[in-house]
């Protein structure tokens, strides 16, 4: 493996670890209880928009495994969620290219909203599977969806801009060219 490839891999791994740490040791302290969106999910979504599913899906698995270990979740729970979200976003971003800033913000809002709703229902489903679900828990999660969507949209937009720069810095192809390559 060349040093360049190694550098890219290390950068991506560091970003994923930073995302996990921001989620458990920063946002849970700064934000009120229950209002923290799933940052790892937003990172993978933003990354898929920037680089495409083909390039990101192994990283979605890596991020999922790290998140499962760090969040004390059963191994595989976050992997499934991240791969599912990445696959859906990869499919959609090929068909609906974003052309202007206003469109970008609206698209980010809808993507963040869908991702957060998916995340909430995924959590309820897993709690049900483990036999620890309750009506109060469901209501609590649903009650906080609106705030999570607003915070999530802001994060997704910032992450998208940041990861675009990171990918360009790592000498990757521009996202649009990337997509065309995959089409071929």
């Amino acid at each position: 493996m060349s040093w360049r490839n190694m550098e890219i891999k290390i950068t991506r791994l560091v970003l994923i670890l930073a995302g996990v740490l921001v989620q458990t040791s920063v946002l849970t302290i700064i934000l009120p209880p229950g209002k923290t969106p799933n940052i790892i999910l937003l990172i993978i979504i933003a990354w898929t928009i920037v680089a495409g599913f083909e390039k990101i899906w192994p990283w979605a698995i890596t991020a999922g495994i790290i998140a499962d270990l760090a969040f004390f979740d059963p191994l595989g729970k976050n992997v499934i969620l991240l791969v599912l979200a990445s696959c859906a976003i990869g499919f959609l971003s090929n068909r609906f290219p974003i052309e202007n800033r206003a469109g970008e913000i609206i698209a980010m809002f809808f993507i963040a909203a869908s991702a957060i709703i998916l995340d909430v229902f995924f959590n309820i489903f897993f709690a049900e599977l483990r036999g620890v679900a309750s009506k109060e828990q469901g209501l609590f999660l649903i009650k906080n969806i609106a705030t999570q969507i607003i915070i999530g949209t802001a994060f997704l937009y910032l992450l998208y801009a940041f990861l675009k720069k990171v990918e360009n810095r790592l000498d990757f192809l521009a996202p649009s060219q990337n997509r065309e390559n995959y089409e071929k």
Binding site: L31, P33, A70, F72, L75, G76, A133
Partner: protein
């Protein structure tokens, strides 16, 4: 071509979901803990720094948002100070009476535990108060099942997983938590279970046992390493269990677990006292 690409992607996603779905289904308990240990060891210093900085930011935000209220608060505190001075004299007398009553109830005297102070380094990723991670682990003598408290006798949870430099603590409000408890005023016994980080439910209380709203619920000290007399919360609602055989009490924690910063692990009880 597009269809072929789409099918290829779908296949990859389906395979991943199937493999990890099976892993979730057959997830052996604690099987992946050695990997957790490595991960936590690697991120420990950064995690601690992130947590410290976040508390600073949170404090600064708290100070800025409360500047307007400070003058009003100062006047209120001055008034309260005078009231407290008079109450202090009365409390000295009550302290003696309390010690006598605790002795009678066979509750452990306060401040008689061998405590290990610990800083919280990360919280439940959803901020729902199910677990916390502390900066003390196997190296510091922490063991699974040890109770975690604050303010000398308020129980917040118990140690669930121990790593070399950190430990996971399941909070009393987590649905994974189950503690034998007793209502201090009436002696009604039951089991306190968490309710997804929101509150606690005292279950299995006999219909004949007396229980009132506002009663304090403490640990019973039966069947675990948790000593008797640690405060769990106060009764806020009383209902019948779904099968109508027992009574259930909704117990509210005495503090907001999301505001916790420092906790104490009870390593031992000083039996000689």
């Amino acid at each position: 071509m597009l269809k072929k690409n789409f099918r290829k992607r779908l296949f990859k996603a389906a395979i991943t979901i199937a493999v990890f779905g099976l892993l979730v289904f057959f997830n052996p308990y604690n099987f992946f803990n050695p990997f957790r240990e490595i991960l936590f060891k690697a991120v420990y210093p950064i995690e601690k720094t992130f947590c410290f900085l976040s508390w600073k930011v949170s404090d600064i935000y708290g100070i800025i948002s409360s500047i307007g209220e400070l003058k009003q608060e100062n006047g209120k505190l001055h008034k309260e100070n005078l009231e407290l001075l008079s109450k202090n004299a009365m409390l000295c007398d009550m302290k003696k009476e309390n010690e006598m009553l605790r002795n009678e109830l066979k509750m452990l005297p306060r401040g008689k535990f061998e405590l290990e102070p610990a800083q919280i380094i990360s919280y439940d990723s959803r901020g729902q108060g199910n677990w916390i991670k502390i900066d003390k682990g196997r190296k510091h003598g922490i063991k699974i099942g040890m109770p975690v408290i604050i303010s000398d006798s308020v129980m917040v949870g118990k140690v669930e997983e121990v790593f070399s430099e950190s430990s996971q603590v399941i909070l009393t409000t987590s649905s994974q938590s189950s503690i034998n408890s007793v209502v201090s005023a009436t002696g009604a016994k039951g089991i306190i279970k968490g309710n997804y980080g929101l509150k606690m439910i005292m279950d299995m209380v006999l219909q004949t046992d007396s229980i009132n709203i506002g009663d304090e619920v403490i640990t019973s000290g039966i069947g675990s390493d948790i000593p008797r007399g640690l405060l769990l919360g106060t009764v806020s609602e009383i209902n019948l269990s779904p099968d109508h055989l027992f009574r259930q009490a909704v117990v509210s924690p005495v503090l907001d677990f999301s505001k916790l910063n420092i906790v104490f692990v009870i390593k031992n009880v000083k039996r000689e006292i």
